[in-house]
Symmetry: C2
Amino acid sequence: MTLRHSNEDAIVAKIAKRAKIVPNGAMARESLACRIGDDAALFQPHGRQQTLLSCDWFLEGTHFLRGKHPADSVGWKCLARALSDIAAMGGKPRCFLLSLALPASLTGRWLDEFLLGLGRASAKFHCPLAGGDTTSRDVILMNVMVVGEVQTGRAVLRSGARPGDLLYVSGRLGEAEMGLRLLNRGKGSANRKNPLTKKHLYPEPRLALGQWLANRLASAMMDLSDGLSSDLPRLCAASGVGARVSAAQIPRVQSSARYFKSSADHLRLALDGGDDYELLFTVRPNQAGALPRSFRGLPLTPIGVITSRKQIVLADEHGRESSLQARGWDPFRSD
Amino acid sequence: MTLRHSNEDAIVAKIAKRAKIVPNGAMARESLACRIGDDAALFQPHGRQQTLLSCDWFLEGTHFLRGKHPADSVGWKCLARALSDIAAMGGKPRCFLLSLALPASLTGRWLDEFLLGLGRASAKFHCPLAGGDTTSRDVILMNVMVVGEVQTGRAVLRSGARPGDLLYVSGRLGEAEMGLRLLNRGKGSANRKNPLTKKHLYPEPRLALGQWLANRLASAMMDLSDGLSSDLPRLCAASGVGARVSAAQIPRVQSSARYFKSSADHLRLALDGGDDYELLFTVRPNQAGALPRSFRGLPLTPIGVITSRKQIVLADEHGRESSLQARGWDPFRSD
């Protein structure tokens, strides 16, 4: 007999073959000393660089729905959202590992389309597949492990904010959540051309911006994945500070009014909407002049200031202050 | 108000706090430039080393049962089995990332016991926790990402076997599978003192042996996680060779006969039993003399030879040959 490959091996071979279609052969050779399928991936670090490591769940039923989210969007997004953590540290992607569990019935067309979206993201963000693990399961489970690099000492942590620093966000907040609402309202296949739906289905990690800000401009940085009201307290806790945010300054969804009950709804969406993958960062007041109003077309908006009082305060347009409650995504919240 | 931590943050804080209890503070400081809880972990590679990266699913219902497997064994095993991939490359562990999804109802005692077992493995194998991801789910899902290191050019791949090389295994095969059978037969809590049950619940990755073999002795290596009959074809396929295995030489369970119907059952268990995490490796014939019969008390047994004919052949004690069918663990097998 000739060597018989098991079903699992056939699926690994399919993933490896598709991963090679991505036009990043040169990168793959540079990063990885051996091909997919050995016991572990071999990664060659560059000199004077620290390695960035992050992993992210992406689970059917929790993070996406099989019936609502096109398979190619699941493939794109599982990598893009993981890379947002590399962007948030100011790093460059090097490679990723994919752990995938799925029903045997989805190893045909669904897996093909998934790999198409994954391959597009891999090529666009210069991040080749290096390895992973595959198993069978009744629901689709994913864990994506991304590897990045940053010049030693240049990573931007959450802990660098000081009282007086100005607080900024990139892009507009709440767009991805609005896109999800549109997707949930729609019947049948998703309208991928609507820019809000597109931001939910095919998010773009802010890698170029993160790398640019890491060049001595940002004092602290993180990505907004759970929503500003949940993520800002994390940055403040890590830095041992508080913040005062001006509600009127928060950049929000620009969309026809028919989707909204009131302008307060606009604001809540910007405060609590998840999945935006924009960057939240702080800049020393004497460096704020060096920051443009946009970076490659992406708005950079000052939304408040870091304070020594360890509270997160939201000020309305009349200057009235209230404490900002964390109402973003929390998988363990029971209320 | 003071900064309010979300429930997810409280769980991350608990994991981070327990991880620090492990007496590996020095290692953690050396490996990691920032603490758990930033967007990504910062890893400082050593000079002239390649980084080894591997990730492993460990899923309730697929890889363990909540009612059968003690929580501390789940914690130990999720790390130990992932580290077996580092052992199989001849590497040293540096750190790991834990992605954990679990029901909110298990974030008390179950999580405490889980972290106890995880912490013991982390200390024993000198592998500190560097980061991860946490979410809520109705079943327990884990993905463990391990980071190791190996001197550049010294990693032992699956692809290095040549015709004429001798084929070896460490330890005895089928023990963990036998331990699982004993566990399934038993009612109530597991008998952790039985050595077979212990091998199933608390496996030991062969890190010291792997590092020793990587010092120019092994030509190819992998770990046995799915069973010899499934894993040997993978090593042979990667090397473009075949193998002839002598059934009588395969080291197997030494246990009272009452668990077995026949000696053929002994052999099948050794061929197809999963979860042993022993090392399968090849040695050039002129180097076989340098290999002792055991390494630190662990038997090293020659079980066959690598052939140029791309078949996996099993020879019985009378020299009769048959093709070895892959009957180890395959999550996608439909029969």
